[in-house]
Structures are given as C-alpha cells and as structure tokens.
C-alpha cells in the first residue's frame, strides 16, 4: 500500500530530473526560436518579395498546424525521410523551436514596426548600410520591446513541452505518468507535475521581468 505523500516524496528526485529535461527542451526551443525568429522578422520587414513570401508561408504553416501533429509529422515522418536519426529530446526541442520561431518572428516584427521610422532614415543618412542600421539601431530597441511578448511565449512553450511526452522524451509529464501508472497515485503525482510547471513558469517570467527592468532605456516610456 502506497502512501501518497511518500510516493511523491520518493519520486521527487526522479521528477526533478524531468524538470531539468523540460528546462532543456524549453531553453533549446526558445533559443532556436530567438535566432530563427529575429531573422524571419527582419526578412519580413526589410526583405524582398520572395523573402517576405517565404517567411509568411513558414509562419502560416507552423501557426496553422497543431504542435502534436507537428511532433509526429517531423519525428516519425520528415526527420526520418531526411535521414536524420534524432533522439526524442532533440526532435522535441527542434520542433518546438521551429514552432515558436513562427510566433516569435511576429513578436519581433511588431516591435520593429512600432519603432519610429525616422531612426532608420537617420542611420542611413550617416552612411550606415541597412544591415548595420538593423544590427546597431533597430534590433537593440525592437528586442527590448519584445520582452513582454517573449515572456508570454516562454510560458506557452513551457507548457507545450509536455507534449514531448508522446515522443518518449523523459520530461516532467512522462515521468509523472510513469510513476502514476505503477503506484496508482495519479492525483498527487499530477498535482506535483502541475506545481513543477507552475514553478518553472514563475521563475522564467520573473527572470524576464528582471531583464526588462535591467535593459530599460532611461526616461523612456513606451
């Protein structure tokens, strides 16, 4: 006979390892999304017609298809077809990364478009190429204004990462399910899983709030 408290207590180190795996997926995915998303946003705002068309096609695809379908589609389909032999962890991270890239690109695009256009003109007038102006003038400001939206996206991807369970990634959800199916203590275990997700969300959002305050432009209210 299992006591629910002792089950959770004994399973906790095992579940915390899951929290590390979850964090790995989320950090990896948000990182991929950041790099891809910035490039796509810049492409969509400043690129030629072909680039804009490609980016919007990408965004429509990843926004239009459920994450669960994407995970199966890539892991069992496209990655195999491409001859990639990825671990469940790597595949989950990559798919979530590509998905969040679509959303993040729109966060960054909105931020870029919200900047006063005159600053780009001033940078050009000083002899900067568009690339230099984007790197030195546009992005440092656009990224600052993106932090609230990015923080929201982080909390969404964190919870979407539970879907990685279906590929057999041993993150929080998979480990909770595994212990629950052996001890029949579903309620306390899923409450624990929920708490772990809540704590990770809280930590991340708080860290991003701190970052937002740290990089705030003095005297500026946006």
């Amino acid at each position: 006979m299992h006591n629910s408290f002792s089950v959770v207590f004994e399973a906790l180190p095992y579940l915390l390892k899951g929290a590390i795996v979850t964090s790995g997926i989320v950090i990896g995915a948000m990182g991929i999304g950041l790099v891809l998303g910035i490039h796509m946003a810049v492409g969509q705002v400043f690129g030629n017609r072909a680039v804009r068309w490609l980016v919007s096609l990408y965004v429509w695809f990843f926004r239009g298809v459920p994450v669960l379908v994407l995970l199966f589609l890539f892991y069992f389909g496209l990655f195999t077809l491409a001859g990639l032999n990825l671990s469940a962890f790597a595949a989950s991270t990559l798919v979530l990364g590509m998905t969040t890239a679509a959303y993040q690109s729109q966060i960054f695009r909105g931020a870029i478009l919200s900047l006063p256009r005159g600053q780009l003109q001033a940078a050009r007038a000083l002899g900067m190429s568009d690339i230099k102006a984007i790197i030195n003038i546009i992005l440092p400001q656009a990224l600052r204004f993106s932090i609230p939206g990015w923080s929201n996206e982080y909390s969404i991807i964190l919870k979407d990462s539970a879907l990685a369970f279906v590929l057999g990634t041993s993150e929080i959800m998979a480990r909770s399910h595994f212990v629950a199916s052996r001890t029949y203590q579903d309620l306390p275990l899923y409450i624990t899983a929920g708490c772990l997700y809540f704590i990770l969300t809280w930590l991340g959002v708080r860290a991003l709030l701190k970052l937002e305050a740290k990089v705030r432009i003095p005297g500026y209210s946006h």
């Binding site: 600053q119 003109q121 002899g127 230099k132 003095p218 005297g219 500026y220």
Partner: protein, 255 residues
C-alpha cells in the same frame, strides 16, 4: 572671393512623383563652399522631399547629384554610403537613436561607419557635444533631453562625421518657441564658421541675416531665387515677399 569655383554640391533636374503627384519638377541648384542657401516656401512645396532626394533617402525619379565634381552613382551601394557620410542631415524631429545616450548617439556612426576605435570615437563625440553646448549632458538619453537639446545632439552627430555639406530640414519646426533660439544659434555659428549648408526653414528673420541665397519653392519648383534683400525686402513685389509677410502676420497675431 574667387569666381567660377567648382561647386561643392550640384543638383540637376531632380524630379520625383509620389503617389501620382508631382512633388518635384526639375529642381536644380548648386552650392559653393561656405555658402548657406535657404529653402523657403509653403508646406507641401517639396522642400523636405528635395533635401531627402539629395542624399537619396528618397530616390529621385530623374536627376543627377554631383559632390565636388563627381556624380553620385546611387545604385552602387558603396558609393552611396561613402557619399552619405559626407552629407550631414538634420531632421525636423531629430531622429535620435532612443536606446543610446547623447554620447553614444554621436559616437555610434564613428565606430560602425568610420571604424574608429571606442576611445577615439568617444573623444570626438565629447568634443562635438561640447561644441553645441552639451558637454554636461553626455550620459543623458534622448527621452531625458528637451527638444532643443535633442536637436543639438543631432547636429553634433552630423558634425562628427566631418561632412562637406549639411542639409537641414526645418530643424526648428518641431520645437517650442523658447527652444528655437538655442538651435538657431548653433546653426549661426556653423554658418559663420564656413559650413556649406542647405537649410529649409520658416525662420524668415534668420534667413534675412544669414542666407547667401534664398530659394523660394512652390508646387515642386524653385520659382524665385536671389539675395535675401532682393527677394524679401518690403517692396520687392515678389512671391517670396508675399509669403513672408503672411508668415510675419501669423507670428504677430500669436504674440
């Protein structure tokens, strides 16, 4: 004064159509070293578009621009960037970089465009900000500066690039009346120091005392040009004079 010198800037036959409307109709003029030409005329006359066509922020549909006898090939990016470095531009609403303090606003192009090292760029930026009277505001960000201070930072930013000419697009139009003086006095110092400039403005008094030539624009053309005393004197009977007296009335009413 030596005659028939090669002009620093020559602008020939600039035409621009925007949204189906002819904004500039074959505008031409040239600028000798040390000259200050003032563009006046009603809003919508094309003054701002003309200035932005000169450094190709707005690509002209037709026309040519020469700097010191060399025609600018605006399609060659490298030539275009090199040309723009030599043409300082001042905007009506300052266009400072909001995320950089006054010092960094001036230094950034020195570092990223002129490839100066951090210390050299800093020293130059400090010197330029001191020149416009902002030596004690180096660390302040645009949002912490008054309009007049912002415009002076933008003038320092342009001067730091050692421009051969300056284009000033209504530099005082966005300022509160009590802040106009500090910006005009910086521009006056530049004019007296021999800077070659094209200034679009509604400041008629300033134009009278400092302009070497007045260009009066209306409907996309320069319709009158001449010395300020010829165009703007009370009984000149010119379109420019008419326009200025209406501006004077407007300001008199406000007082």
């Amino acid at each position: 004064m030596t005659e028939s010198k090669e002009p620093v800037l020559r602008v020939d036959n600039i035409c621009k159509i925007l949204g189906g409307k002819k904004i500039l109709r074959s505008v031409s003029f040239s600028l000798q070293r040390g000259e200050l030409k003032v563009l006046i005329g009603p809003s919508g006359a094309g003054k701002s578009t003309l200035l932005q066509c000169i450094n190709f922020l707005i690509p002209p549909d037709k026309g040519h621009v020469w700097l010191e006898g060399t025609e600018i090939q605006s399609r060659r990016k490298r030539d275009l960037y090199a040309f723009r470095q030599q043409v300082g531009m001042i905007f009506q609403d300052f266009n400072l970089f909001d995320h950089l303090n006054a010092l960094e606003n001036v230094a950034i192009a020195l570092r990223k465009v002129k490839r100066m090292n951090r210390q050299a760029a800093r020293d130059r930026a400090v010197a330029e900000l001191e020149r416009v009277g902002l030596g004690d505001k180096l660390e302040l960000f645009p949002a912490e500066l008054s309009g007049g201070q912002k415009q002076r930072v933008s003038i320092a930013r342009a001067l730091a690039m050692d421009p051969k000419i300056m284009l000033l697009d209504e530099p005082t139009s966005a300022l509160d009346p009590e802040l106009i003086g500090e910006v005009l006095s910086v521009i006056r110092d530049l004019a007296r120091g021999g800077m070659t400039m094209v200034l679009a403005t509604h400041q008629i008094g300033f134009t009278r005392t400092l302009a070497d030539e007045v260009l009066f624009m209306e409907n996309g053309s320069i319709i009158e040009r001449g010395l300020p005393e010829e165009l703007l004197s009370p009984n000149a009977g010119t379109r420019s004079r008419d326009f200025c007296s209406r501006l004077d009335e407007l300001y008199a009413e406000n007082e």
